[in-house]
């Protein structure tokens, strides 16, 4: 797939179009409007309006009296005043005050857009739930917000393109293998899951499917928690990542498991009440690991240590050998 088609491809996968739709429907007026709005009093002159518009390059201003919105005055009104040579006239003679069309800060941009379409007006004062003026919105504000969002989508689509399409696509050799090592501290629950999360990110980064990364992460997480709970001086997690197979080894140097078969029974646990309070020690760890792995072996000797080896096969679709869609 060519780079220029990144966004199109992204849209094709049901992403961008629905995202734009969501954006217009869910983005609130308050996120798009100009919040620091200039205002004038109804007694100000049209000349003052002219100065304000020119100085700040704006096209209209809400008119406020006693902190209440009483009207809106725009560049069109100024043109009328100029035609009549009435620049010294107070604003209230030219402003729109009846049937004033406003937007609400919390309403979706879509609603504001509809009102612009139906009425043909150029700008709307924005009111909060109590009817207080909090900003002003123009069609231009909406366009800019949408273009900004489109830009974000495009960047996201480009980033997707740069990610490898298949597992290990980015690395080529006769016999590729990636070895990651993590030291696990006993009792350090705060960092529990750190190693598993890192392995998961690494797998995704080199192009593993989310399903594979998830399987590996869940099994490794259970093994990591086991080391934190049980191992005398913590342990070691080794991840050997190859294009067709991933092997994770979790090992420690004691205390060792007295009855491995019993430990593998669902619901069997020797965890302390403190550990259970943290949500672990339900005796489902090894059951969980077995479910996620293609092969699992557990070796242990009391006084020596334990070694849990988990193997995950990379399915052929993920290696990219059988499919060639681009």
């Amino acid at each position: 797939m060519k780079r220029e088609f990144a966004l199109l491809g992204f849209m094709g996968s049901g992403g961008a179009l629905s995202k734009i739709h969501e954006l217009i429907r869910e983005m609130q007026v308050s996120r798009v409007m100009t919040a620091n709005v200039f205002t004038l009093s109804p007694d100000a002159t049209m000349k003052e309006l002219e100065d304000l518009l020119r100085e700040h390059h704006i096209s209209g201003v809400p008119v406020i009296e006693n902190q209440e919105l009483v009207g809106i005055v725009s560049i069109e009104d100024l043109i009328h005043a100029l035609e009549n040579q009435q620049l010294d006239t107070p604003i209230h003679e030219y402003m729109t005050s009846k049937g004033l069309i406003t937007a609400h800060a919390q309403e979706p941009v879509m609603e504001a857009l509809r009102r612009f379409e139906h009425t043909g007006i150029g700008r709307m004062p924005v009111l909060d739930a109590r009817g207080k003026l909090v900003g002003i919105i123009t069609r231009g504000d909406i366009t800019i917000a949408l273009l900004g969002a489109l830009q974000e989508l495009y960047t996201e689509a480009e980033a997707m393109q740069q990610r490898p399409q298949h597992f290990f696509d980015a690395l080529e050799s006769e016999n590729t293998s990636l070895l990651l090592r993590y030291r696990i501290e006993k009792g350090n629950f705060a960092r529990g899951g750190d190693a598993s999360a890192k392995i998961k990110r690494a797998l995704l980064r080199i192009g593993a499917s989310p399903q594979l990364a998830r399987r590996v992460a869940i099994a490794t997480y259970e093994a990591e928690i086991n080391l934190i709970i049980h191992a005398n001086d913590g342990g070691l997690i080794l991840a050997d990542i190859q294009p067709t197979e991933i092997t994770i080894v979790a090992q420690d140097s004691g205390p060792g498991i007295a009855d491995v078969d019993l430990a593998r029974q669902p619901g069997y646990s020797t965890a302390t009440p403190e550990v259970r309070e943290m949500g672990f020690g339900a005796g489902m760890g090894l059951t969980n690991i077995e479910r996620c792995t293609d092969r699992m072996s557990l070796w242990s000797a009391v006084g020596v240590g334990s070694r849990l080896q988990m193997t995950f096969k990379v399915s052929p679709e993920e290696t990219g050998e059988t499919s060639d869609d681009d």
């Binding site: 999360a197 259970e222 928690i225 029974q265 943290m278 949500g279 339900a282 479910r291």
Partner: protein, 122 residues
């Protein structure tokens, strides 16, 4: 189900906003993280009373995009920080786990259905 609907159904407040729009397909309620890891599917809401960072870790591993803490137990800052970092949405409901789950079920959210009965061998 959108997170707004979860907030409304369980009278919850949003503590950590998600980085993107989430559409939940199902939910799982448990205080046992291994259960959660065993049962969760992607796009699943995790309902739990366990407020330590491991709840967020577990959600991240299982690709659950949002966690609903129950019984009004406000999570410690390290939990919220990890959620922010991992991009996991966090909500807090004043209801107990039973009631929060019931309210979500009534609102249309479903679980994973029946599981086979596992007997312990002694």
């Amino acid at each position: 189900m959108k997170l707004d609907e979860v907030l409304e159904a369980t009278e919850a407040e949003m503590l950590v906003k998600p980085p993107y729009n989430i559409d939940l397909e199902s939910a799982c309620a448990s205080d046992l993280m291994s259960d959660v890891l065993l049962f969760t599917k992607p796009s699943m809401l995790l309902v739990t009373g366990l407020t330590n960072p491991q709840a967020i870790r577990t959600a991240d591993m299982a690709e659950s995009p949002a966690v609903l803490f129950v019984r009004g137990k406000y999570p410690p800052p390290e939990t919220l920080e990890l959620a922010e970092e991992m991009g996991v949405a966090v909500m807090l409901s004043p209801y107990t786990m039973f009631e929060a789950a019931g309210l979500l079920y009534v609102a249309g959210l479903r679980g994973i259905g029946k599981l086979p009965i596992m007997r312990q061998q002694r």
